[in-house]
């Protein structure tokens, strides 16, 4: 028997030590500045233009799946009229919750200050608000639990560090990301319907489409860019845009709703 103890005890202790040391939550530790060329400069706002436009959806937009919240009475109480996923939010032919950003073309010619003002995402009524948002590399992202119930916040990045932390009471936690990444899914494992998507970029040229599918990228320096529109179900579309000094360019992205698409 003691021989067995001698075998088991050190192994159990070793594993326990590893277990206790492995719990670091993942708020990405070091905000990093995007690598810039030696002659990189700030964008001259006097000569900058803008890229604006609309994301439209053709075809019949699928119904969002209803959410069954009976597993948490607190969530159910906050959504007495019923709740549905926010995958497809369309109005006036435009599609909301599309992340539009300059994917390519800026190179490392420009210097951008990292904003210190935090971006905020709420957990409200057992939904993430907003459903899609953007944040800069190194910029604080405040994750707020405004609910009376418990949430866990589980980020599933690929380029950044995965994390999972608890918010048992109304509280705020802060997360930062070290690497650009489009998109990072957030989920709550307590409430399986709660999903959100965060775009992390090393420049300020991004937007999430609002009502009517409209977006606006301002103070963009003259140049040729690849602009991408990302939707959680309909995928991505890109367009090449050449922008002159002080020019305002209008572009339209058109997604086609698949008849087979669900939720």
């Amino acid at each position: 028997m003691f021989r067995i103890f001698r075998l088991i005890a050190p192994a159990a202790v070793a594993i326990a030590v590893v277990a206790c040391s492995g719990s670091n939550q993942s708020k990405s530790p070091q905000p990093a500045s995007p690598a810039a060329a030696p002659d990189a400069r700030k964008v001259d706002e006097g000569t900058a233009g803008s890229i604006s436009g609309k994301v439209v959806v053709e075809g019949t937009v699928p119904q969002n799946a209803p959410i069954q919240m009976s597993s948490d009475p607190a969530c159910e109480a906050e959504n007495k009229g019923g709740a549905a996923q926010e995958t497809y939010v369309a109005s006036d032919g435009g599609l909301q919750n599309v992340f539009v950003y300059i994917k390519d073309g800026l190179g490392n010619k420009y210097l951008f200050d990292t904003p210190t003002d935090p971006v905020k995402i709420d957990q409200k009524g057992c939904h993430y608000v907003p459903h899609v948002l953007g944040v800069r590399v190194g910029q604080p992202l405040q994750v707020v639990n405004a609910d009376s119930t418990m949430h866990n916040v589980h980020g599933l990045p690929k380029a950044n560090q995965e994390f999972n932390f608890s918010q048992p009471v109304p509280m705020t936690s802060t997360v930062t990301f070290t690497t650009k990444e489009v998109m990072i899914p957030f989920k709550c494992d307590v409430h399986s319907w709660m999903h959100s998507y965060i775009g992390v970029l090393d420049h300020p040229y991004f937007a999430v489409t609002a009502s009517g599918g409209k977006f606006d990228l301002r103070t963009v320096p003259a140049g040729t860019y690849t602009v991408e529109a990302w939707h959680e179900k309909l995928g991505t579309q890109t367009q090449n845009v050449t922008l002159g000094e002080k020019e305002n360019k209008e572009i339209t992205f058109t997604f086609k709703a698949s008849p087979a698409a669900t939720q």
Binding site: M1, I4, F5, L7, I8, A11, A12, I15, A16, V18, A19, G22, S23, Q25, S71, D72, P73, A74, C75, T149, M150, N152, H154, E162, F163, N164, F165, S166, P168, C188, D189, V190, H191, S192
Partner: protein
């Protein structure tokens, strides 16, 4: 209560624990409680019932059942150590304890490390090993097992082919379970969304790692099915009057049928949590039944005893009835035949052994 009955109780709790663990994975609740061993900062045992919501219900219930099984296993190990004369059975009791401790640590690790597939698969695989250990302890402490080693027990001829088949079947089922666990923990459960064909073909026309894992599990199901059919077929054909072998064989076939059906419904229901979990639990029952059959084949088909020719064995005849009823009630036995090579044995020839 006897040690044998208590070991059976622990085995039943272990099946319950496997079911609870299956629900955690099937509902995607593995990270709904980010901390361990605490639960949202509370002591696990004082976590308020009102906060068991959403995925927390599954994860926290799993942790509490696991703690219960851990506690029961401590008692099992100590009880076995105190009352069991056979040294290897005492060792088995502490192996159970070591396995359940390691299993608890693996469970905590997989939460803290955010469900890395190797750790999660290891957790699932060790769960089945722990189940097999408690089940083995229950089997070897049964009156029938002990009686099989007594001088009064009838003798049958060892069936080497059946022994190898039964052992292979048990190993094949375990391997298949590991493949299934790999599929579950690498999100490959719906990699092939059609059944019985794969994208309309016998062999998938496209390959990804997930499709390969999923397809391997389906091929594994065929291998396991053939192994079980071969084992059970041999039992029915050559040992049809030996209830201690026939009964687990029948059970094994029943569990096999339900397992294949459940596997199909896992795909057809797009991994409905209850169906998925039933598939996991039934898989454990297939493994457990295969193990019991293998243990009985080895035990009741006789052991080679020094001083006797190959056809002379200790064992158990079909006419003696089930394993549980065959032993003399008062017989405690000082050990298995292998533990007491000098114990008197009776030699029977093959004709006597056959029904």
């Amino acid at each position: 209560m006897t040690l044998h009955r208590y070991a059976k109780l622990v085995t039943v709790f272990t099946v319950l624990l496997i079911a609870a663990g299956g629900m955690v994975t099937s509902t995607g609740s593995g990270l709904s409680v980010p901390d361990w061993p605490t639960t949202y900062g509370w002591n696990m045992f004082t976590f308020p019932l009102s906060k068991w919501v959403g995925g927390i219900r599954y994860e926290h219930t799993h942790r509490l059942i696991a703690s219960t099984v851990g506690f029961l296993t401590i008692i099992l190990a100590v009880w076995t150590w105190r009352v069991e004369p056979r040294r290897w059975v005492r060792t088995l009791g502490f192996l159970c304890l070591g396995a359940v401790i390691l299993q608890g640590v693996l469970g905590g690790l997989t939460v803290l490390l955010l469900l890395p597939p190797p750790v999660s698969i290891g957790h699932a695989g060790l769960a089945q090993i722990f189940f097999c250990l408690t089940l083995t302890l229950a089997v070897v402490t049964s009156p029938g097992w002990r009686a099989a080693g007594s001088p009064e027990s009838p003798v049958v001829t060892p069936d080497e082919v059946l022994r190898r088949l039964a052992a292979f079947t048990t190993a094949a089922v375990y391997t298949q379970i590991i493949l299934g666990a790999t599929m579950r923990h690498t999100n490959a459960g719906m990699a092939i969304p059609t059944f019985p064909l794969a994208f309309g073909h016998l062999v998938p026309p496209v390959w990804t790692p997930q499709i390969a894992i999923h397809y391997a599990h389906r091929i594994g199901a065929i291998v396991v099915t053939l192994a079980i059919l071969a084992t059970a077929g041999r039992v029915f054909y050559l040992h049809g009057s030996r209830r201690e072998l026939v009964r687990p064989s029948v059970l094994l076939l029943a569990f096999l049928c339900s397992q294949v059906t459940l596997g199909a419904f896992v795909v057809l229901t797009a991994m409905a949590p209850v169906v998925n979990t039933a598939h996991v639990v039934n898989g454990a029952l297939v493994l457990g039944t295969a193990l019991v059959l293998a243990l009985r084949v080895y035990r009741f088909s006789g052991s080679q005893v020094p001083g006797f020719s190959g056809s002379q064995v200790l064992g158990f005849s079909g006419s003696a009835g089930s394993a549980g009823s065959a032993g003399s009630p008062g017989s405690t036995g000082s050990g298995d035949s292998a533990d007491s090579p000098g114990s008197p044995v009776r030699g029977f020839n093959q004709a006597q052994a056959r029904p």
